[in-house]
């Protein structure tokens, strides 16, 4: 049977190299290159990208040089020290702790938790939505009931209760606990797109080409909803920074003695701090705003890059 196909064409093994080269010359640019072109075409997004990368690297590396136990000790000499002095760049709080150092370590904690939470909850939500939407029928029905159940649980209250009950927990366990409650939005979104995508003929063609369900889900359908996944993941990342900070702000996030952006902003709970000692809370608040804005800019560019019709970058270069 292989013979038949060879007989029907004049192309033989000798031509392979030459034709492959011809094809490579005409090849469409890779996705990474398209994305880079898109960033180059959008200056604010480019700046945002660098701010994000630089900032995340900075807090991770800088926090390695900070002795956290020593940092969180009370130091009476520094009681509400003014900012912009050689010893206290951003001043100090009521315990005389350096805000600059707390900000670095706190950012690292908050960002790490947000990244961990985003990776775990998005991965789970995406898989849940893909499987539910692809198989449909009874599988979908059962999986959606689990979804409904998770949705009706009062989330914040449950998290607070769990955190209060568990005697010892740290950043990792907190991330895992939060992950249980933050996959539903993603899963619903992915499911609805997967339902529509599964009806398309290319999925039928893959089935009749003998491709397994698992491969169809992750290698055929998932790339087609990648723009949705990218946008949703970046937005969840921005949102997840808020989740941990919000909890810490309320006093139910990271345990005592672990600084985070939330505990820093919590300084604003004290009216005296709001008016008199602005440096105790303002830098952290500004940082969150800048981070979230940057992330959403980057997310927008990624969405454009994955959607040919919206591109601004020139594909040719």
């Amino acid at each position: 049977m292989k013979r038949d196909i060879e007989d029907a064409t004049s192309i033989s093994a000798e031509d392979l190299g030459k034709l492959t080269k011809e094809a490579a010359a005409e090849a469409t640019p890779s996705r990474a290159r398209i994305m880079w072109g898109e960033f180059k075409a959008d200056k604010p997004a480019m700046v945002s990208l660098f701010v994000l990368i630089f900032f995340i690297l900075f807090v991770i590396i800088a926090s390695l040089f900070i002795n956290t136990p020593k940092m969180i000790q009370t130091n009476l000499m520094g009681y509400y020290a003014k900012p912009f002095t050689p010893e206290y760049w951003l001043g100090a709080d009521s315990g005389g702790r350096s805000i600059a150092k707390e900000l670095i370590v706190g950012s690292r904690n908050s960002i790490s938790i947000a990244i961990g939470l985003t990776i775990i909850s998005s991965t789970f939500g995406i898989c849940w939505g893909l499987v539910s939407g692809y198989f449909g029928g009874m599988v979908d029905l059962a999986m959606q009931r689990v979804y409904d159940f998770m949705m009706i649980i009062p989330m914040l209250m449950t998290i607070i209760v769990i955190v209060t009950i568990i005697p010892h927990y740290n950043a990792i366990t907190l991330t895992l606990i939060l992950s249980i409650f933050y996959w539903m939005g993603t899963s619903r979104l992915i499911r609805s797109r997967t339902l529509a995508e599964s009806q398309k003929d290319y999925v039928a063609a893959s089935k009749t080409s003998g491709t397994s369900n698992l491969k169809i889900i992750f290698r055929e359908i998932m790339p087609n909803i990648s723009s949705l996944i990218i946008v949703d993941t970046t937005l969840s990342f921005a949102e997840n920074i808020g989740v941990e900070t919000g909890l810490s702000f309320l006093g139910f996030g990271l345990p005592m003695g672990t600084p985070s952006l939330g505990t820093l902003i919590a300084n604003a709970n004290d009216p005296e701090n709001i008016t008199g000692y602005w440096w105790t809370w303002l830098p952290a608040a500004l940082e969150i705003i800048i981070l979230c804005l940057s992330i959403s800019y980057v997310g927008q560019v990624m969405r454009r890059a994955t959607n040919a019709a919206q591109r601004r970058g020139n594909e040719k270069n």
């Binding site: 196909i5 029907a8 090849a27 398309k200 039928a204 893959s206 003998g210 491709t211 790339p223 087609n224």
Partner: protein, 326 residues
């Protein structure tokens, strides 16, 4: 023995509704379809949109679960999943889809699109696989530079040829072509059909050729089945259908073939309106009280028609009289 035998195939979709989401009714998309496809022939399945052609195709290839009936291939009923796996059924039976854009994954390069069935059914090494893809592209008249492009970079006709290349990749015995040219311009239609015919001659492939247009089917098929409302109303050779149509639905489809000769346009239009009038008048007699077609009656050795009971009786008596020499 036929290549594939479809026997009393039914596909009913449940309609759910009411408070408990129970099955309240069925859509009888396919309701008792029987026909055989011989090796190397092109079998035409024709009917208006919504008559159940695609559902029939999907049930035959295993994309849709059959409610009842059987599809026999190599002596096994391939409506059952385990039989399909045992026979490597989709190595032998492939499909070409109507919407060429939707049937090619927009995220995959043409090389990966065409190689997909090869990767699953024939384990070639990288070089051999690429060579085969290039040969397949050549067979459907596309250049090697298509290899690393994406589907949206091609025209409709080119995309459909890529679909054809993918379908013949594993050298199947049967290709189900579900309205392969309906979405294409008239000029491009002929081109794609010619490639399909060329491939059939070279590889001896059978086609189940689905169309809503009897004009297209005329050039492709030796045997034709006319389908409406989930049932076949007339089966016969090309000659039976075009020169001796007996069911009013077939007559109406024939009248709907566009007339290309400008001089006869008016005449043709008058003829079509006449047929339409007869169709409206006789519609009630040609379908039963539920609007379904009647069982098929043999009117000649090759020709069967779903005639209404009073006409059917005549033919039965006739064939009984002639029965001795048939």
């Amino acid at each position: 023995m036929s290549l594939i035998e479809i026997k009393d195939l039914k596909v009913h979709y449940p309609i759910r509704g009411g408070f408990w989401n129970r099955v309240v009714d069925n859509v009888k998309a396919v309701d008792g379809v029987t026909f055989n496809i011989e090796a190397g022939e092109t079998y035409g399945l024709v009917g208006e949109s919504g008559s159940g052609k695609s559902t029939t195709a999907k049930a035959i290839i295993g994309l849709e679960k059959a409610t009842s009936g059987s599809v026999m291939y190599k002596g096994k009923d391939v409506t059952k999943g385990e039989n399909r796996r045992k026979l490597d059924y989709n190595h032998d039976v492939q499909m070409i889809f109507q919407d060429s854009l939707s049937s090619l994954n927009p995220r995959k390069r043409i090389e990966d699109v065409i190689a997909e069935p090869l990767r699953n059914f024939e384990h070639l090494d990288k070089e051999q696989e690429k060579l085969r893809v290039l040969q397949l592209l050549d067979i459907v008249g596309l250049d090697a530079d298509a290899l690393y492009k994406y589907p949206h970079q091609f025209s409709g006709g080119q995309r459909q040829r890529i679909g054809v290349a993918r379908a013949v990749a594993t050298h199947p015995k049967l290709i189900i072509a579900d309205e392969p040219v309906s979405a294409l311009d008239l000029s491009v239609q002929a081109q794609v059909l010619n490639f399909m015919k060329k491939i059939q001659r070279q590889f001896g492939i059978s086609y189940l050729f689905i169309s809503h247009d009897l004009g297209v089917v005329r050039h492709m098929c030796k045997n034709i089945a006319i389908m409406t409302r989930g049932r076949i109303v007339e089966v016969g050779t090309r000659d039976d259908i075009y020169n001796n149509p007996m069911h009013i639905y077939t007559k109406r489809l024939l009248a709907a073939i566009p007339e290309t000769n400008v001089n006869h346009r008016d005449e043709h239009r008058k003829h079509r309106l006449e047929i339409e009038k007869i169709y409206q008048e006789q519609q009630s007699t040609y379908y039963d009280k539920d609007g379904m077609a009647f069982p098929l009656v043999k009117v000649s050795p090759t020709h069967s028609v779903a005639l209404p009971p009073h006409l059917a009786k005549e033919f039965e008596q006739q064939s009984e009289n002639e029965g001795v020499n048939v």
